[in-house]
């Protein structure tokens, strides 16, 4: 059980601050929301947490581990998984193979055994495929296992990305606008999945533009505007905060 902690992180591009001093805690077993209008710096925060961007100031902690300097693969191995705002799957590969890819950090068989196709490598592949099949079943997509991921609907592709992230068995899960472009029914069925993942002890940070969805799902919400936190609290408090209303309505 590990929490994600951001301690006063900042990032500027060519002298212009995109994110300026954000501190937040996403505790294990909870869904924490990070909302903000377009251009608030949400994706910059995600990219800093996942090691795609370096911070110019501050610290990032996963549990007790300081991961501020870690690059993206190291973070993945430390248990940070993410989904992407614009879906990023291997379109030609099957649904099953896309999900199997998520297990990479749990693979134990060495390079040479994989190259030579030794029985241990074959066995590991079969085990991972079984685990991936179990995930497909949980998401109700067993019948689509062999289809190329790129040929499926938007909602299905979102689910595949989610399964791939869950295959990493993460301690921290970052969801970057996971219901963008989905209808309410699809969004609700994903919300149920998010809740059950959080119940297993995963710290979920939900980054969303859609305020209504975040309000219905998160116990604690942080509001980002122009690179700074302008409010935090439970959904009711945040929803009534005049600063938040101003930032969203652009008064």
């Amino acid at each position: 059980m590990k929490a994600l902690v951001l301690d006063d992180i900042a990032r500027s591009f060519g002298g212009l601050p995109a994110v300026d001093g954000v501190s937040l805690t996403a505790p294990a077993g909870r869904i924490t929301g990070l909302i903000g209008p377009n251009g608030a710096g949400k994706t910059t925060v995600v990219n800093m947490i996942t090691g795609l961007l370096k911070v110019t100031r501050g610290r990032i902690l996963v549990g007790d581990e300081d991961v501020t300097e870690a690059d993206a693969p190291m973070l993945a191995r430390a248990g940070v998984a993410r989904t992407f705002q614009n879906i990023r799957l291997i379109g030609d590969a099957s649904v099953l193979d896309n999900v199997v890819a998520g297990f990479h950090r749990h693979e134990k068989v060495g390079t040479l055994a994989n190259l030579l196709g030794l029985p241990s490598a074959v066995r590991e592949r079969r085990e991972l495929e079984n685990k991936a099949s179990a995930l497909l079943e949980r998401f109700g997509m067993t019948g689509l296992a062999k289809h190329p991921a790129g040929s499926l609907s938007y909602g299905h592709q979102r689910r595949i990305e989610m399964m791939r992230a869950l295959a990493m068995d993460p301690a921290v899960l970052l969801l970057d606008e996971p219901v963008a472009g989905m209808n309410d029914t699809e969004a609700h069925s994903l919300a149920d999945i998010f809740r059950s993942v959080a119940q297993q002890g995963v710290a979920i940070l939900l980054i969303e533009h859609n305020m209504r969805f975040v309000m219905s799902l998160c116990q604690h919400i942080y509001v980002l505007a122009s690179g700074q936190l302008i409010a935090e609290g439970d959904p009711d408090a945040v929803g009534q905060n005049p600063k938040v209303i101003e930032a969203y309505l652009g008064a």
């Binding site: 693969p73 291997i90 199997v100 068989v109 390079t111 190259l115 030579l116 196709g117 592949r125």
Partner: protein, 292 residues
């Protein structure tokens, strides 16, 4: 039957040699590395094998080990500085490698005999030996393709950001790809030296580089059948078009262009994709029929 094999032996040997070169190119392209180094690695292998036998009096099997070893080491050494480069910059850097190896083989006359090349190398490898080498490499490539490494290669090629977010180390896999490419091309070069009696520097130049690239683009870069199909087609095509004489290269170029326009994923990958889709639609219509 025997006479058929006898008269076509050189052509079949060439096709198998080309298949090995194509595998060397395939493995880097599959990992998303735009390396053109295959011709350089093959030259190193060929010269290592030829020098071992003609100058040092070593047995051929030791020469082949030297060829594979030199290719492997060269691949590993190239991978280190190239880890930071991508796409066209990788292509340029590896093109420079081909030029460096070419000028070494041309100018280090004491060892390489310069432009004349090394001649009267005893022919110790026949069709059977070439066939075995291709079979082993095909097996290794298909084993690699269906396990963790091939999967990591595919993800890196398609989307590096996704790869790193899943914990896949890009430098490590680029290194593996370069080492495999070097080892396979080194083996190909060594075998070529032992089947063709002589080697010259210009065989391993720009022509080979373009031909090998064309074979993989034509055949396909994901399935292991891609390089084999590409090598067979581009080895047989010049023979089939022999009647056209000087128009031969024009027709060959035009055919290649057409195949790239209409089958951009390569002959083998397109065919496999089509078959897979057909099987899925067939299975789902069958499933529907059962529920009705």
């Amino acid at each position: 039957m025997m006479s058929f094999f006898n008269s076509y032996t050189p052509l079949l040997e060439l096709a198998l040699f080309n298949a090995l070169l194509a595998f060397s190119q395939y493995v880097v392209l599959r990992a998303g590395v735009f390396s053109l180094g295959t011709a350089a690695f093959a030259a190193l292998g060929a010269y290592a094998a030829a020098i071992m036998v003609t100058k040092l009096g070593m047995p051929a099997w030791l020469g082949l080990i030297a060829a594979v070893g030199l290719g492997t080491v060269a691949g590993a050494l190239v991978a280190v500085p190239l880890a930071r480069l991508r796409g066209v910059f990788q292509a340029l850097a590896t093109l420079a490698l081909v030029q460096i190896v070419l000028s070494i083989t041309l100018n280090w006359v004491d060892v390489t005999e310069g432009a004349l090349g090394i001649n009267s190398i005893p022919k110790t490898i026949g069709l059977f030996g070439m066939f075995c080498a291709v079979a082993v490499v095909t097996y290794l490539m298909s084993a690699m393709g269906s396990t963790s490494i091939g999967r990591a290669f595919d993800i890196i090629r398609e989307d590096e950001t996704v790869a790193v977010s899943l914990g896949i180390s890009v430098p490590k896999h680029h290194m593996i790809a370069f080492i495999l490419s070097g080892a396979i091309a080194g083996l190909a070069g060594g075998l070529h030296a032992y089947t063709s009696y002589s080697i010259t520097p210009n065989e391993y130049g720009f022509n080979m580089l373009v031909m090998v690239l064309a074979m993989v683009v034509l055949g396909g870069r994901v399935s292991v059948w891609g390089p084999i199909v590409g090598a067979v087609v581009l080895t047989a095509l010049p023979e089939l078009l022999r009647g056209l004489q000087e128009y031969r290269t024009v027709v060959q170029g035009a055919l290649l262009m057409l195949s790239i326009i209409f089958l951009p994923r390569g002959v083998a990958d397109t065919l496999i994709g089509t078959l897979r889709r057909r099987r899925i639609t067939l299975a789902s219509t069958k499933a529907k029929a059962v529920t009705i």
